[in-house]
């Protein structure tokens, strides 16, 4: 277990990224011409400080990938976005995003499918914002042989492909925010550890890293803080140390149950299923499955609030 809490950058006051009550819904055509709005994210709040690695964890279907796409401004046209996204204290408008994507703000996607299958790797890494010199230097840093640049994406091995994706993030130069969407599935433990080290390097160099993952276990070893996501809502933000020590130190009943379900802790499953974000009304989304629920949890707003150095979205957490 690493302890990164002493990282000096964490004392910076302006978050690299601040997401405040973000909501994302997709308008879909239902039966006939009826239009329905599908909620993917209902209320998401988190912040990533410079030099910090924040892991966003949650079961699949909790809306994690949509968060990454919302920050990067690559949601489909039928998406409706509410709430605020601030980058270094200023709203991340479309115009600002257009200038920052690929330079200060980098996106690391899941798989090699995100590379153009018909373009050689070096040209893709350079993209429209990098230089040949930067690409060569970064290839050396990620131990990618120069020949790899002349290859096409389909020729890359799994590990090489991931390093190329990291290289695309680093080539812009002055990276201040890294958004990564499920970067590790399908990789062996060694490769996963290498990936996480690369993320850690970005953070240690002063960038804020937003790491969206379902591999909590892996992330805990490298993250500073963890945001727990449930049914389109952030229910808790805690330090990685609190999370790793098991459920007791956590604030929200779901995150406690989530931590207890981890193999190295009690390995105890949570009964019931995560509700679909769109099917939820008012009140706490965990209401159905919560062992500590009270009548007022079922209705009314449940705001995010500060508690014991972390944040929680629960009316009764102490």
């Amino acid at each position: 277990m690493h302890d990164y809490s002493n990282n000096h950058n964490r004392h910076a006051t302006v978050p690299a990224l601040l997401v405040d009550e973000l909501s994302v819904s997709f308008s879909m055509y239902g039966r006939g011409t009826a239009k329905a709005d599908l909620d993917a994210i209902r209320a998401l709040s988190l912040d990533v400080m410079p030099g910090e690695l924040l892991a966003v964890v949650g079961a699949s279907g909790s809306g994690k990938s949509v968060l990454a796409h919302a920050v990067m401004g690559i949601l489909p046209k039928n998406a409706r976005v509410g709430g605020r996204i601030l980058y270094r204290g200023e709203p991340l408008t479309e115009k600002r995003l257009g200038a920052l994507r690929g330079t200060e703000i980098a996106f690391i996607p899941q798989a090699v499918d995100y590379l153009d299958p018909l373009m050689r790797v070096d040209r893709q890494v350079i993209g429209t914002r990098g230089t040949r010199a930067a690409q060569e230097e970064i290839f050396a840093r990620y131990r990618l042989a120069p020949e790899v640049g002349r290859q096409y994406p389909f020729q890359l091995s799994g590990g090489m492909a991931r390093r190329v994706l990291f290289a695309t993030a680093a080539v812009g130069g002055d990276v201040k925010l890294v958004v990564a969407d499920e970067p590790t599935p399908g990789l062996g433990p060694d490769l996963c550890a290498k990936m996480m080290n690369h993320f850690r390097q970005f953070a240690d160099a002063g960038a804020g890293v937003l790491l969206i993952t379902h591999d909590v276990d892996l992330a805990l070893g490298y993250a500073d803080r963890v945001a727990v996501f449930y049914a389109g809502v952030t229910v808790e933000i805690a330090t990685a140390a609190e999370f790793a020590s098991g459920g007791a130190a956590l604030r929200h009943p779901y995150s406690r149950a989530f931590a207890d379900a981890l193999p190295q802790n009690a390995f105890r499953p949570i009964p019931g299923r995560q509700p679909y974000a769109g099917g939820l009304g008012k009140g706490c989304p965990f209401f159905d499955r919560c062992t500590e629920r009270r009548t007022d949890c079922a209705s009314g707003d449940v705001p995010m609030r500060a508690l014991r150095g972390g944040k929680v979205r629960c009316l009764h957490a102490t």
């Binding site: 257009g98 920052l100 996607p109 798989a111 499918d113 995100y114 018909l118 373009m119 993209g127």
Partner: protein, 328 residues
């Protein structure tokens, strides 16, 4: 590049097989058609005696069994002798040579124009999927695709040649002009309307196809990633869309030689353009078996060549195929 046996031998074998099948089938069709080649040759009002007719039939081998007749034809064809056209009273090989030279200009110009215009239009519509422009392009192409080629030809003819009088109503050179006096400008002037017609006939397919591929590409993860890396729409189109759409578009354009040949036949007939297409129509109407078989042969070779080029190009242009070294 490895020019392995698989690349050359397999298509060659397929080609031979195709030519045999096509010619046998045409032979059977013509032999069973209600047209008597002898009557077509001597004319219905002929005063020739029955004995003389029988002699001609004997000379042509019309009473021989069909397989034997086919084999004789095939043997001669292998030696470059496609027989003598009944309609034109000249060797079929010579007629085809002359006329194909005219038709190939018509086809290739229309092919290039429809390919380039259709590709650009398809991309322009595809990246604007769902807009009024996109819908207009789609409707326009669907109308063109469902309109018969000869009808479009007649519209073009009646508007540009008859109403406006800008272009001649037919033929490849001015009527009554000596062959020696015909200029290149004359030829081009006569070629414009048939080319326009054939272009319009061919453009719908390639445009709709390119548009569809563009829409699929724009929905892909690598375009999403390109956007996330700050590429503008123009950059995305130039760097990724053109590259990824050109590959299938070029292939489909080569593979559409059959439609091109069919369209050419109709366009030539409407404009009385003396190419292979109009010769084919004339031959079919006159029961001119040697001419018809020759035209079928050249059509089959042409279409096969298009498909072959499409296959080979895919191997050359697509790195996923090329770098692995195995061709489909």
């Amino acid at each position: 590049m490895r020019l392995n046996a698989k690349l050359v031998a397999a298509p060659a074998a397929r080609m031979v097989l195709l030519l045999i099948c096509v010619t046998v089938l045409s032979f059977l069709l013509v032999a069973n058609a209600p047209i008597d080649p002898l009557t077509m040759y001597v004319g219905t009002e002929s005063t020739l005696s029955d004995a003389a007719k029988a002699e001609i039939a004997e000379h042509w081998g019309l009473d021989d069994p069909l397989p034997e007749r086919y084999l004789i034809w095939a043997k001669n064809a292998l030696h470059g002798d496609l027989g003598t056209s009944i309609t034109y009273k000249r060797p079929v090989a010579d007629i085809l040579k002359e006329r194909f030279a005219l038709s190939i200009w018509l086809m290739m110009l229309a092919w290039v124009f429809s390919g380039i215009l259709g590709f650009l239009l398809g991309i322009a519509a595809g990246v604007r999927q769902g807009t009024a422009f996109d819908r207009a392009v789609k409707v326009f192409c669907l109308i063109l695709q469902s309109a018969p080629a000869f009808w479009i030809g007649l519209l073009v003819l009646s508007f540009f040649a008859v109403r406006l009088g800008w272009f001649p109503i037919g033929m490849a050179v001015p009527m009554g002009k000596l062959a020696a006096d015909v200029t290149l400008a004359d030829r081009i002037h006569h070629l414009i309307l048939p080319v326009l017609t054939l272009t319009v006939v061919s453009i719908g397919k390639i445009t709709l196809y390119t548009r569809q591929k563009t829409v699929e590409t724009m929905d892909s993860e690598y375009i999403l990633f390109a956007r996330a890396r700050g590429e503008t729409r123009g950059q995305i189109v130039r760097r990724h869309v053109v590259r990824n759409v050109a590959l299938p578009a070029v292939t489909i354009q080569f593979a559409s030689f059959s439609e091109l040949f069919g369209g050419m036949t109709l366009a030539e007939t409407v404009f009385a353009y003396p190419g292979v297409g109009s010769a084919t129509t004339t031959a079919a109407l006159n029961g001119d078996v040697p001419m018809l078989l020759g035209a079928v042969l050249i059509g089959a070779v042409f279409v096969f060549a298009g498909n072959l080029i499409a296959n080979i190009l895919y191997g050359v242009l697509d790195p996923r195929v090329r770098e692995r070294g195995d061709y489909a």
